[in-house]
């Protein structure tokens, strides 16, 4: 899977209230959530993001609430992937579960500038910076998370487990 778009730089410790304020958690609609994405962090950010663009953030991206509405809102904006120095734990699981690719890459935040054309190559394990002719190594996902993503996320995983239990009559 390859993703390519313009980079938008974000700082450290971006929290889930900054991604989607709780006042909008009265809907689960991705389009509606996207309309308010990053509203309190940077009210102009969502207007600058084009489908396929890449967010490049610092450490602990997604800290705070367990609201899955946060990765849904980012995905709803059409963001291709989030590259960060590190991610908060619950956000990381949620993003995998809703199919928003997350890439841990220590170097990207230091080297990438706002507006650079970047490409995330999950197969080769690089973030490629086409504007600067550089590439940065991605920290590989733990095998089980890779397996989850490849098998279509947690929904498909559970569906298969339930089907297996029904067929075998054993506990799932």
């Amino acid at each position: 899977m390859q993703l390519r778009g313009r980079a938008h730089l974000l700082g450290d410790h971006v929290d889930t209230d900054g991604i989607i304020p709780a006042r909008y958690l009265v809907t689960t609609d991705p389009g509606e959530l996207a309309r308010h994405c990053f509203e309190d962090l940077d009210p102009t950010l969502r207007e600058r993001i084009r489908p396929g663009d890449i967010l490049v953030a610092g450490q602990n991206f997604g800290q705070g609430s367990s609201r899955e509405h946060a990765p849904i809102a980012i995905k709803g904006l059409g963001v291709g992937a989030v590259v960060a120095r590190s991610f908060a734990g619950i956000f990381h699981r949620n993003a995998c579960n809703v199919g928003l690719p997350l890439v841990e890459c220590a170097e990207a935040r230091d080297r990438v500038r706002d507006g650079d054309e970047v490409e995330v190559d999950l197969t080769a394990g690089w973030v490629v910076n086409h504007t600067r002719g550089e590439r940065y190594a991605i920290t590989p996902l733990p095998p089980f998370m890779r397996y989850l993503l490849q098998s279509g996320g947690i929904v498909e995983y559970v569906r298969a487990a339930l089907a297996a239990a029904e067929a075998g009559g054993a506990a799932p």
């Binding site: 209230d17 304020p21 602990n60 949620n94 095998p143 799932p172």
Partner: protein, 426 residues
């Protein structure tokens, strides 16, 4: 080599003799829950998974606490979706308005979580229940749907770091100050992906309510869970409430931990987290004098009975400053009833506070107590991110209930001892 408390519980629930940090395992869930914000999404995913029934209706709760009583049509619709699901699946532990309270306080109070449990909640503060000697962690809606369908969930075994509290607490210093102090020390991702195990003689002096406010905020340091060994205080609390038998696990003496941090609590003063991070922690005296528009005493972190008792001690016979407003929200109907019986609510009302039915509303800027442009709030809650309680230019200071009550009286941030000179501190 032995295992830590967290590893012991996870190994037992994975059905294996031992687990190692970093390893991915599947663990059996003893109890799971979702709230009115996270349940609708979880229900949608549950149905997409093709699940026809929850793994065990006795071990699933739905608790309405965030936007309740419903603040608008959209939140009423969310409640309707969850309400219909609870009826369709005959969930016996469905908590609707009037019988409901803030989930983390309510579920512990009702004895649904016991020592040795694995508990998954679709709310980040589910780590609250670690004070009972359980492995408790917050998850998103899809993970909760998976846990509801299968009765188990995958986990990456966290590394344990031990936080040891030595010495005796000084007056006006509470469990809330201990956890804020730790988060200020290690940072908001200092515990990332890990288990925070709290130990030390100072814990023995803490009530259950204070212990809950410590484990509750483990997530603010990025941790997967916060946990304490179940001692006699825990068991005395659990015995009359538990709905199931429990198992007390203890860390093996030779368990490997990733680190130990020791704090002499006798040197600590009441602290506050200044905007806009729970990690910006300073002694309250350093920021004394900051003008305060609103004070909020409540939430899953500090809306329990001991919190209200402490606040009432400061407020009794005093008045809320004319330019400040005070909002008090008992966390559950049981807390509300007991506060009523003890005369605490009377003290709040006499002081000029608004006292409301149990809800998370103000903590998330959801409804009730939403802040306007430029307003300052002192809150006993757990988060002070930008826009957390309302306008993005409003500011939130996190504090213990005595500091919050003192701020309500003074109309500015102040050490409680400077307000209550004539009162022997708790």
């Amino acid at each position: 080599m032995g295992m830590t408390l967290t590893e012991q519980i996870l190994a037992a629930h994975a059905g294996v003799p031992r687990v190692t940090p970093g390893e991915v395992i599947e663990v059996r869930a003893d109890f799971v829950f979702a709230n009115d914000i996270t349940a609708p999404l979880a229900i949608r995913e549950f149905e997409r998974m093709g699940a026809r029934r929850v793994f065990d209706p006795e071990r699933v709760a739905i608790v309405f606490d965030h936007y309740v009583p419903a603040k608008d049509i959209a939140s009423a619709e969310q409640c309707r979706i969850a309400r219909e699901f609870a009826r369709r699946h005959h969930l016996p532990h469905f908590y609707d308005v009037g019988r409901s309270g803030i989930a983390h306080v309510l579920l512990a109070e009702e004895g649904f979580v016991v020592p040795g449990d694995v508990f998954f909640g679709a709310d980040s503060h589910s780590c609250n229940h670690g004070a009972l000697g359980a492995f408790a962690t917050g998850v998103g809606s899809s993970d909760l749907a998976a846990a509801m369908a299968l009765g188990r969930l995958w986990m990456r075994v966290p590394e344990t770091v031990r936080y040891e509290f030595r010495g005796r607490l000084r007056p006006w210093v509470t469990g809330k100050d201990l956890i804020l102090h730790v988060i200020g020390d290690i940072g908001v991702d200092g515990g990332r992906y890990g288990a925070m195990e709290f130990v030390g003689e100072a814990l023995q002096d803490l009530t259950m309510d204070e212990r809950f406010s410590i484990t509750n905020m483990a997530v603010e340091a990025g941790a997967m869970n916060g946990i304490m060994e179940a001692d006699e205080t825990v068991l005395a609390w659990v015995r009359p409430r538990a709905r199931r038998p429990w198992t007390v696990y203890r860390s093996d003496p030779d368990a490997r931990v990733a680190g130990v941090r020791t704090y002499d609590v006798s040197t600590l003063e009441p602290v506050v987290a200044v905007p806009a991070s729970p990690g910006n922690v300073v002694p309250v005296r350093e920021v004394a004098g900051v003008r305060v528009d609103q004070v909020f005493i409540g939430t899953c972190t500090n809306g329990r009975l001991e919190d209200l008792r402490l606040a009432a001690r400061v407020l009794a016979g005093r008045r809320v400053h004319p330019e400040t407003r005070l909002l008090v929200i008992p966390a559950t109907p049981a807390v509300y009833r007991q506060a009523l019986a003890e005369g605490l609510l009377q003290a709040f009302l006499d002081a000029g506070a608004a006292v409301s039915t149990s809800t998370c509303g103000p903590c998330i800027g959801g409804h009730m107590g939403v802040l306007a442009d430029g307003e300052v709030c002192v809150s006993t809650s757990s988060r002070n991110f930008v826009g957390r309680m309302g306008h993005r230019q409003s500011r939130v200071y996190l504090a213990n209930p005595a500091v919050a009550a003192a701020a309500a009286v003074a109309g500015r941030l102040v050490h409680p001892a400077d307000v209550v000179r004539d009162l022997v501190p708790a």
